[in-house]
């Protein structure tokens, strides 16, 4: 019974997906109303100051959008279990 209900929901989800694509991992379009201030604003402000990196107001949305995509993708591997002594790929030889 529960299995049948789940399957029905899946079909509904599939129909919705066909009807209207989800929008994910998309930097905001220029001119889109600025999103509410969030932790990415804090990061952009702090990093821009620390790096002496100018971020014009009209670029800010796209920079935040790209950071949001980056963090979303980083979530895929950030907690991937690896031992402390896992060696990073680039190996320096003296």
């Amino acid at each position: 019974m529960a299995k049948r209900a789940k399957s029905s929901k899946s079909k509904v989800r599939a129909r919705r997906a066909r009807a209207k694509p989800r929008v994910a991992a998309m930097p905001p379009k220029p001119g889109r109303k600025a999103a509410q201030r969030n932790s990415l604003d804090d990061l952009v402000d702090a990093a821009a100051r620390a790096l002496d990196l100018p971020v014009a107001p009209q670029w800010r949305g796209a920079v935040k959008g790209n950071l949001a995509v980056t963090f979303a993708l980083a979530e895929l591997f950030a907690d991937f279990p690896l031992p402390d002594d896992a060696e990073p790929a680039p190996v320096f030889s003296a």
Binding site: L53, V63, L73, A74, L76, F77, A78, L82, P88, A89
Partner: protein, 470 residues
Amino acid sequence: MDTAWAPASEIAAAVADGRTSASAVVRAALARIVADDPVLNAFTAVLEDRSLAKARAIDAARLAGRPLGALAGVPFAVKNLFDVAGLPTLAGSKINCERAPAMRDATLIERLEAHGAVLVGALNMGEYAYDFTGENVHYGPSRNPHDVARMTGGSSGGSGGAVAGGLVPLALGSDTNGSIRVPASLCGVFGLKPTYGRLSRAHTFPFVASLDHLGPLARSTRDLALAYDAMQGHDGDDPVCAPRPVEPVAAEIARGSEGLRIAIAGDYFRAGAFPEAQTALARVAAALGVTTEIELPEAKRARAAAYVITAAEGGALHLARLRTRAHDFDPAVRDRLIAGAMIPAALVTKAQKFRRWYREQVLALFAGVDAVLAPATPCTAPRIGQQTFVLDGVELPVRANLGLYTQPISFIGLPVVAVPVPLEPLPIGVQIIAAPWREDVALRVAYALEQSGAVAASRPSPERDKRARR
């Protein structure tokens, strides 16, 4: 001889036995560039005097009875991130116009010319190679010869367009996350991304040091092999270039795929592909009689890690320019680079640790197979200016996602040949992926497919070209 579509191998043979001259071949290439490049926009510099002088020297050498190289008289061009003596190395940017002209050629240009090839120009590309579209806000988009309203793919867009459009039989590009394989796929030509560290990157403008590769695009497997053989060998000017002996492959490719164990990449590489990508893969698999499917473990995470490393290293490379010249960047590139410069180091380090883990898992697969097939791009060439497409019901930016299937492969430096499947109305590529240092395997499979007729660089329709010019 129709040098607009003749393979490099046939041009070199004809020059060597006197059926034509290097000068005639190069003059014809220069004339095609004059005629067709105003539409294709593949070239950013044409080296008329230099190329004609080189061609005359080859013809003189033949008359004097001196031996000619395997690429004698073959015109070629390079993505404009290669140093070319006398030209500023643009790397697709406006900012680099102000660089002093290069004092010498990149190592790979020197090596091709040592085998008789003739450099005729420098090619358009996405700014600083951070691109999969072939579009460029400063120099205009390179245009796909199969439909000039469509993208070439990038960032080696001019390389794909120049070869597919019959301007030159051979071009060089760079591939950090797919920038040879994506334009090869969308333009319907062959592309070789060798093993990381195989070919010297010396005297070229970098993008992501830990991921950058260079390689050739051509209209046949044999031409890829000839160019690749000419360019092999250690180069002390590139610390990443491996101290390995030259391992020639041109004489090996005719062995074909006999005895090779080949599988199709499943899971991640099946998801999201448009019907044309699935058709192309099925056609290649059928031609090889391949039905086995294997999973490259954690390919989705691998692609994510490649994305983060790319953004961070790219941001770091351009930090000084972003501080002082941000307004002179392509806005689409600038905003990604600024964000990249702000990525916490902990994520980049984790990505590099994951990279080694992933490499070990994938290399273990090669104990059971010799080559793996995967789509090169999720779709045929999008229209120029198209911002998004829908993959698996999710709307995604084209610029960042055309390389969805190439990134998990270059992430661990595996050699790949992208082969063109001549579907109508537009071609699309399939990746043949081999174990590290086994370019010979990927090229043998590509050659077998070419012999079977399953893959070929299809010539753009003249009618379509005329329509585009009207």
